[in-house]
Amino acid sequence: MSCASSIWSDVPRELRRGVLLVTLAVALVGIAYGVTASADGFAVWQIVLLAVLVLAGSAELLFVGLIGAGASPWLALGASLLLNLRNVVYGMAASPLLLRRWERWCGAHLVNDETVALAAAPTGGPPRTVEQRRATFLVTGIGVALGWPVGAVIGSTLGQVVPEPEAWGLDAVLPALLGALAVPAIRGGSAFAVAVLAGVIALLAQPHVPLGLAPVLGLAAVAVLLVGRRDGGARGGAREVTS
């Protein structure tokens, strides 16, 4: 318990509310996932097993959605794994924060959009220490690891009561959350250019490539705009993001 409270106190004060809100938002998406999955014929224990073992929101929604639509489990597996390819990049970002051996093995499971976005969140002032970013990553990860399955349980039990998560706008929670986490990090010309180009590529590619690949193709924006250019006009802005 003292370990848990000391890691919480390492989370920078201005990020603490963000961590709790991410947990809550993930639980809300979890409810939508639970409702969807039970409508697609999955049992509560299967929904929770997926939530705990896979712990990747959009991939699970895709997996249960495809199987519910009658696709073969192998197709659903391939598509969901493709959607999770971006975790390789997120894992690289989390890597310097996971110092001990067990952290690298256990912490890897906590790598996802939300934990990496918060751990890399820009500061208003001085750069954050590795300890602070590590604590932010781990605490957000624990929040997501709890919030997601709990939301899924509530959703899959509620499935019969609230049959339409869309009517409540619950399907907008995931994009709104990820977007709201990304936007503050877009400072300076190069980050803005990368965001716009990556967004355009992903949107144009989506109907033409297997599900999940479009955002990964958007990484081409980074290659086009930044690789080989060690410094450019926008460097000052981008350094702030790094902090």
Binding site: A25, A93, A172, P175
Partner: protein, 106 residues
Amino acid sequence: MTEVMIAVVLLAIGTYGTRRAGVALGGHVTEGPRAQHAERLLDHAIIALLIGVTLTTAVYDGDAPAGWARPLGVACALTAARLHAPLAVSVLLGAGVTALLRHLGL
């Protein structure tokens, strides 16, 4: 159903594999200008991925456009975030506007 359960287990192993591979690949270079350059690339890659996932999940259901309500709701959330609204306000605004537009029949 057995096939589905095998797929679930493989999905869990595969997903963990992508994460663990990233953790293993990253963090070899930790100091000097090369590390700074790599970190800068990584920061931009995170932005590119988050925006890509945001926009595709806002606009599409699978590979078909999902209608106007969700993209407009998410656009409100992004605008709010841009204007330094708290995270909760942005997210609730996104869901709320989406739900409202649907009730209005969009």
